[in-house]
Symmetry: none
Subunit: 253 residues, 2 copies
């Protein structure tokens, strides 16, 4: 995207919601905060919007809403920390496979501002998030769209996955149990996850503590298929030991 285009869209973005944070713009447009500040400065000099500490507001909105910085998403806090740990595992130019799910989605967001990578995913949501990130080679597995999760499933997805071998898989789940392993509520998704595991040299499971010791409908794989588990500190010491004894590395975010 050209500088002018980006600035124009940035202006539109700000106007649509009356305000925008620098960090938000940086994420949305996939450029550094330094660049966002430069852009906003130019737009302000052109009289098109107004800078504030932390972001920008439209000229009309001056005085309407002075502080907007605390609008943070606490909901995804643990997931964000897990995602951050996961991002640390990814090296430049690697080929990573991202499962669909909220935690992997957080991870995808982090990858918008990073070194060149190839990203394969069956998550339509992640594809949308990353579609303009030019440093990323983006590959969709294809498949039938499941609206509940915006993931791509079915034989097409599985067949697509069978054509590749990726460096690292980041898997999401709805249940992790020491005996039952990884489970998910939908059969088709479970099958895709299995195909993903077959296509990966290394499997990393992202799973916040709310899903630990749970089982759901469809079995994906035993715990032993997981090389690394990233979870948060809500995990019990018992379970932690059990998992480690199974030969799975555990990272606490």
């Amino acid at each position: 995207m050209f500088t002018e285009e980006r600035q124009q869209q940035m202006l539109q973005y700000v106007q649509e919601r009356q305000r925008a944070a620098v960090s938000e713009l940086s994420e949305t447009f996939g450029v550094s905060e330094a660049t966002v500040r430069r852009d906003l400065k130019e737009l302000e000099e052109a009289g098109l919007l107004r800078r504030t500490h932390g972001g920008a507001i439209t000229r009309e909105a001056v005085g309407v809403e002075p502080s907007f910085l605390e609008k943070r998403d606490r909901f995804a806090d643990e997931k964000q920390r897990i995602a951050k740990e996961a991002a640390c595992l990814i090296e430049k130019n690697e080929i990573v496979l991202l499962d669909s799910g909220t935690t992997t989605y957080q991870l995808a967001k982090l990858l918008k501002r990073r070194s060149p990578l190839t990203i394969v995913t069956n998550s339509h949501q992640i594809l949308q998030e990353l579609q303009w990130a030019e440093h990323l080679e983006l590959i969709s597995t294809g498949g039938t769209v499941r609206r509940e999760t915006l993931s791509l499933v079915g034989p097409l997805a599985e067949r697509g996955l069978s054509m590749m071998k990726v460096d690292k898989l980041f898997l999401g789940t709805n249940g992790l149990h020491p005996e039952e392993g990884v489970t998910t509520p939908h059969l088709l998704e479970a099958q895709v996850k299995q195909a993903m595991i077959r296509s990966a040299k290394e499997v990393v499971l992202l799973c916040d503590h709310s899903k630990l010791n749970k089982t759901t409908f469809a079995k994906v794989c035993p715990l032993s298929a997981i090389d690394t588990l990233i979870t948060d500190r809500g995990i019990s010491a018992d379970l932690l030991d059990q998992i480690k004894n199974d030969g799975t590395d555990v990272i606490l975010a």
Copy 2:
């Protein structure tokens, strides 16, 4: 091609998509980047477009920028009428394959409010448009994301397509010529289009008059591979005859 001619086409190219990179133009017109820059400089001095670092944008693109992809329609009217005709060809519960492109995108929009259908597409833009339409079974071919068109290309897409046989294919194009057939500026897209044709029982080409009698880089198929052409009334009588004689049905929107 003469210099004047090339500059004229370059201007048209930029206007059609609101933007173009120097590298892109260089590739498309088969001249060096130095020449593209000289051309763009002259066009800018003539006030016909605006230079940016790395390329050029139309003057209209500066100022009001509607949601990104939608506004790059120069012949939006014709395309909508063509899309409407195309929609009439689709029957309930059919399986249709939609190519990526602005005209097929218009068609996709029309299908949001219609009878149940299965839609297969390699257009990420169409997938986004239809992702919440519950009466549609949506299938992505998969593949590598091409940002210029938000289409999915590459071996994955081709392999995915090889797994199916759809009732009707709605194909877009950048050039239709009586002798050269259907052409498109990008090799990978051409290959995907070929795979689509192989996967379809019936091929319908959507093509507004601005693309008639044009050839671009990569050959997709001869005219004879097209069962039905839908175009607008801008087509010349000569060409119309020629196409009909080739055994292709023509619908004028």
